[in-house]
Every structure is written in C-alpha cells, then in structure tokens.
C-alpha cells in the first residue's frame, strides 16, 4: 500500500496559501492547516467592533479557506513566544514595527515542531519570490528554510520550480512538475490558478494580515513601550491599541476614548482593569485612563473626554469617574477647547 504523505500548510486566509494547499491536494497529499495567532492578526471582526463596519462579513478568512479546501485547521496561540520575535528581531523591522522575516522563520519553526508532534511529513507555505519586499525575496527563501530548521522539509508550491528541490521532490512524495514558477508582485498567475481550481471567491490582499505593518498602529505600540520604559506588553494592551482614539497629554498617562457605541461597549469590558470616565450630563464616549493619574491629571483627562462629548460647547460637563474597584466620584469640568488639544497628544 502506498503511504499517504501528510503536509501542514501555513494558512493565513489569503489566496496564496489557499492555492499552495490545493496544489498539494492535487498531488494526493493529505493537508491540514495551521494558523498562528500572534495577537497582531488583522481579522474582519476586529473592525466589526465599530458600528460602521458591522455590515461587513464577520468571518475568519483562515477558517473560510480551510472549509473551501475541506481541510482541518488548527489555531496555534503564540502570543507569549512571539514577544521575543518582536522585541529583538535578528533581521530587523520593515517600514514599521513589522519583523516580517523573523516572523516567517518563527512560524515555520513552530510548524516544524507541530509536524514532528503530529507525525506529518513536510510543511508548505504560499510564499512567492518577490511578492513581499521584506520576507519573500530570492535571498530570504533559503534563510527561512535554514534558520527555522525546516531545511528541505519546507516546500513552496507556488514558486518551487524557481528553488532547489526539496525533500518531498527528491523522495518522490510529489512531482516537481506539479509545482509553479510564480515570481514578483503580480497577482495574475494566482488569479488564473484560482480560476483553474474553481475558486470564485477569496480574500483580497488589503495591506497585509498583521497590524504591525500598519504605521498608525506601530506609532501607538512604540509609544506604549516608551511610556513603560521597556519593550513589554500584555494581550489586552495590544488589543486596546486597535480600538478608540489614543491621546497622551502627559508622559505618565494616556486617555483611550471610544469613537462610537461599538467601541464604548468594547472598552466597558476593561472597567475593572483601568480607571474609566463617562460623561453623565451629556451623551458622550467612554474613556479609559492608562498610566499613573494624579488628581490634576484626572481633571485634565476629564476635560479632554468632555471635549469629545455632546457637551463640547457647554460651560460645564459632568462625568462619572470609576475606579478599578468600582467606587465612583463625579467631576464637573469645562470641556477643553479644540485649540487646547495639542497635536502631539494624538497618537
């Protein structure tokens, strides 16, 4: 009986990994998917916190891809381990705080651990030479294979013909002829292959799948590290960076202000971890205070929050200040005038 060879596919939810997995299925390989959760992943429903985005489809693209392919998908929580990748990337950052090459090496390394634990034979990714400026270049392909430890067990079906033969090809598990020679940033070959495989719908690339490639997000993360005096974060910290308006009027603290109802509801879930402010005399946002707050700072924060409420033109706005333990006090403040909000406060 012929052995059924098994591959673990890194499934991001985009078209390339979907095609790479299908290409292997076409060669009779049994495929299961892996999706690594770093905490910085961009998901459709992360945006769906906001009311304006609620009409958008709420689906996880990696799960959707797995369902189209008819494969199992395993989420791997790497939030803690990923910190070391982000804090000290051996190959440096990209345009923002994105350590793309180190990230890819890390994920392939984790996939290698997974295939060993689960008795799989090799790893596949949807990488294409020249597709991404930092991590998907001709020179970086062998670096990823070598530094992850995967070596010849890492196969890139979409550009495999442009690379040295891997173990699955050398051992005859798959046919090299069934691989592709895609290269560069053009998406046309992928779209043609998608059509050939009968995939009519797939996620369109929209600025990557990671918040670390996003400039405003990276600014907020860098500010977080600076304010704490070290590169450190918890999952809640990096989730909150995705939500609300962030203003740092003093180095000691920042104010996170909801921009609409959906964000207000989301921030409400953090009321036992942060001091929170809510306008009571007028409709207005919920705000969280992150950092060390003196009584004077509290008034400053309250004036900023009042500025973003319906009472922005009133003489006085009342706010309820809620401590983490649930005790409350009422403050009455004059809303800050627009010119008093310093541009450098806005993160």
């Amino acid at each position: 009986m012929t052995k059924q060879y098994k591959a673990a596919a890194l499934i991001s939810g985009g078209l390339d990994s979907m095609l790479a997995a299908r290409a292997m299925q076409e060669q009779g390989i049994y495929v299961e998917g892996l999706n690594f959760f770093t905490g910085f992943c961009v998901e459709g429903h992360t945006h769906a916190i906001r009311k304006k985005d609620q009409a958008k489809p709420k689906r996880n693209n990696a799960l959707w891809v797995a369902e189209q392919l008819g494969i199992k998908l395993h989420f791997v929580d790497v939030v803690e381990e990923y910190k070391e990748v982000l804090f000290n990337p051996k190959h440096g950052y990209g345009a923002n705080l994105n350590p793309c090459l180190d990230c890819k090496i890390f994920m392939v390394e984790k996939a290698l651990e997974w295939i060993k634990e689960n008795d799989f034979d090799f790893i596949i990714t949807g990488e294409v030479i020249g597709q991404r400026p930092k991590s998907q270049r001709k020179e970086t392909m062998p670096v990823i294979a070598r530094e992850s430890g995967a070596e010849g067990l890492l196969l890139r079906p979409l550009c495999g013909k442009n690379l040295p033969a891997t173990v699955p090809e050398q051992e005859g598990w798959i046919e090299r002829e069934g691989l592709f020679d895609f290269s560069g940033r053009t998406r046309k070959p992928q779209m043609a292959l998608a059509k050939q495989y009968g995939f009519e719908e797939y996620a369109q690339p929209a600025g990557g799948c990671c918040f670390l490639t996003d400039a405003p997000y990276s600014v907020k993360l860098a500010d977080l590290w600076k304010s704490r005096g070290e590169k450190e974060y918890e999952l809640d910290d990096i989730m909150l960076l995705k939500v609300g308006r962030h203003l740092r009027p003093k180095p000691e603290f920042k104010v996170i202000i909801s921009r609409e109802e959906g964000e207000g509801k989301f921030l409400q879930g953090y009321k036992n971890q942060y001091v929170s402010l809510k306008t009571t005399s007028h409709a207005g946002p919920l705000a969280l205070l992150d950092g060390k707050i003196s009584p004077e700072d509290l008034e400053l924060a309250a004036r900023i929050v009042a500025r973003y409420s319906q009472g922005r033109s009133a003489d006085q706005v009342e706010l309820e200040v809620r401590e983490k333990d649930g005790t409350t006090q009422t403050l009455s403040v004059a809303p800050m005038a627009p010119h008093e909000i310093q541009p450098e406060w806005q993160l």
Binding site: A48, K58, N60, W64, A66, K72, H74, F75, G269
Partner: protein, 80 residues
C-alpha cells in the same frame, strides 16, 4: 449524550476572534467524543467562527443563544 454537569464552560467574553475559537479548541482537546462545550462570547464573529471551526474539525453545534450582547454557543465533541 452527556449530562449538563459534564458541560465544560469556556468564558470567552471580551475576547476578539479568533481567541474564542482558540479557547474552545483548547477545551475540546482535553475532552472525549460526546462531551459538550459551552462558549460564552461577546464578539459576534464567534457566531460564524466557532461553527465553522466545529464543521471542519468534525464537531457538532447543538445550540446558539444570543441575549444582551452575549452569545452562548454549545457544541458536542465529535470523533477526533
């Protein structure tokens, strides 16, 4: 069919997807076929993601209830 007392409750409130799915996945790993998991979620994305994850991994959604911005999804563990 398992007793209600055998149901493992996963509190995934405040967590954004895919964290609720990961919590359910981790709970299911420790359970035998037929056992039940009840996930309490606030991210509406869980309403599509947990059933999708269950479908592709061979588990069965028993019930979904949404009330007061919370979604309670109960699944039965399938053969692994």
């Amino acid at each position: 069919m398992s007793n209600p007392e055998d149901t493992t409750v996963v509190d995934a409130r405040r967590l954004l997807c895919p964290m609720p799915v990961i919590r359910v996945q981790n709970a299911v790993k420790k359970l035998s076929p037929g056992a039940r998991v009840e996930a309490i979620c606030t991210d509406p994305g869980a309403l599509s993601d947990i059933p999708a994850w269950a479908r592709i991994n061979g588990h069965k959604i028993i019930q979904t209830i949404s009330r007061n911005d919370e979604h309670i999804i109960t699944l039965e563990v399938g053969e692994k």
